[in-house]
């Protein structure tokens, strides 16, 4: 890969280690996250990809005994997201997250999306209306819910709930969106809708996605990282990784061979 045709950086992990108590879950990860690109993290269960993903919004801070070493630099301001003086709440405003199973709040559709804005202190009804509509449109669910914004979110179908969760993440205008296996609980049609959405979203936001579905990684991502036992073994353009991976272990994984 030529250095000069790499897009600008949105974030970069530098010598990142992570410990659950004594257990070292991430081992010296160095990896670029390119701006307004989709980067897929693949690897067998327990390889650390979700752990890595969650480091970006400081999720691990919620539990005692977890410890980071190294940095995750966030651009353009070159903030170290992991620095103790950086407020995790601020980080989560800039870095949104969507989980494996849709997890809407037991509130109305509208309130689910407005939630993050209200937490930020936004109470102006017109502003909220606008931003909720924009987020729902951005998540490609506006047409389906615009006439029933006051209905309870958990009554939506699984695929709709997941897009609602994406709208909720979009409402605060994040710069980076983290997806942790966002379609593993969805049927092929809802999955296709989410993949289509990812493609649309990367026009305005950088995306990091964990997936167990190789074809999904190949379809949606621009870059792919293969992780194994807490290490990042290979990082490269998705087109190259799925045709000609450099590391035999990456090859074995994506072609479904025993290691």
């Amino acid at each position: 890969m030529q250095i000069h045709d790499n897009p600008p950086l949105k974030a970069e992990a530098r010598n990142l280690n992570f410990y659950y108590g004594e257990a070292k879950a991430l081992k010296n990860i160095n990896m670029p996250i390119y701006d307004k690109k989709v980067t897929a993290l693949i690897g067998p269960s327990g390889c650390g990809k979700s752990t890595y993903l969650r480091s970006f919004n400081r999720m691990h801070d919620l539990y005692p005994g977890n410890r980071y070493e190294g940095e995750i630099r966030f651009f353009p301001d070159n903030t170290n997201l992991l620095a103790p003086e950086v407020d995790p709440i601020e980080v989560r405003m800039r870095v949104g997250m969507v989980f494996q199973k849709p997890n809407p709040f037991p509130k109305s559709i509208f309130e689910n999306v407005a939630y993050g804005l209200r937490v930020r202190g936004e109470n102006n009804k017109r502003v909220l209306d606008d931003k909720v509509e924009n987020a729902l449109r951005g998540a490609a669910i506006w047409e389906e819910v615009k006439d029933r914004l006051q209905e309870q979110a958990p009554n939506l179908s699984g695929g709709q709930q997941q897009r609602l969760c994406i709208a909720r993440a979009l409402a605060t205008d994040p710069e980076l969106l983290l997806f942790d296996e966002p379609t593993s609980a969805l049927d092929p049609i809802a999955t296709a809708a989410i993949e289509e959405l990812v493609h649309e979203l990367k026009k305005r936001v950088t995306i990091l996605i964990v997936t167990h579905n190789m074809q999904q990684a190949a379809r949606v991502s621009d870059y792919t990282a293969y992780m194994f036992l807490g290490e990042m073994l290979e990082f490269g353009k998705t087109d190259e990784i799925f045709i000609k991976p450099k590391d035999k272990r990456t090859e074995d994984y994506i072609t479904g061979r025993m290691g």
Partner: protein, 230 residues
Amino acid sequence: MNDSQHLSSQFDEDLTRLRTSVLQMGGLVETQVSAAIDAYSTGEVTSVKHIVDTDRKVNDLELAIDDDCAHLIARRQPAASDLRLVFGISKIVTDLERAGDEAKKIAKGVRRIYEAGQMPSQYGIGVRHIADAALAMLRQSLDAFARLDTALAQKVIEADAGVDVEFKSIMRQLITHMMEDPRTITTSIDIIWIARAVERIGDHAKNVAEHVVFIVEGRDIRHPPKESKA
């Protein structure tokens, strides 16, 4: 290439069967070419029918292998080395089928010449030589595929230039012949067609070798840029 086994043994079996079919098809084409060349030297025009019949088998195998490739892609979504193998095989069988067509053209040309009471060998001595070279290229390209041997594939690719040069030299000789004695024109033209078919077989063998390099290394070496050709 990756020789570890897949988690799905069925997948391994599918790929093995696919490779075996390609080699079977390659073997048939090799016999076709070899029989056509022999017919040229010996005048055994009885083998022409056999060569034409074999061509039908080759065509059927091409269809069957392509069909297997499509099914395998639909069922397994192969990636990396598996994807390159399936993709490469689909291209290799196209080249093999065309090489078989060329063998058929040679056989038919031989029949025309002998049936007209001529002896091709007195015109194009070079044809036998270039035909042996093209047949060797074809054999080696199939060996390179069977063993996924890129060094051998590279040899085949390099050998093609020699066949091309010889073809041009045969053309010049035959043109001289035709100018000196216009009665030889009919046979000379048939021989030109035969030499041309042989030269094309060399090209197809070269293509097969290029597909082998793609399968093994993931590099597409067809159409290299001008400066690296030297």
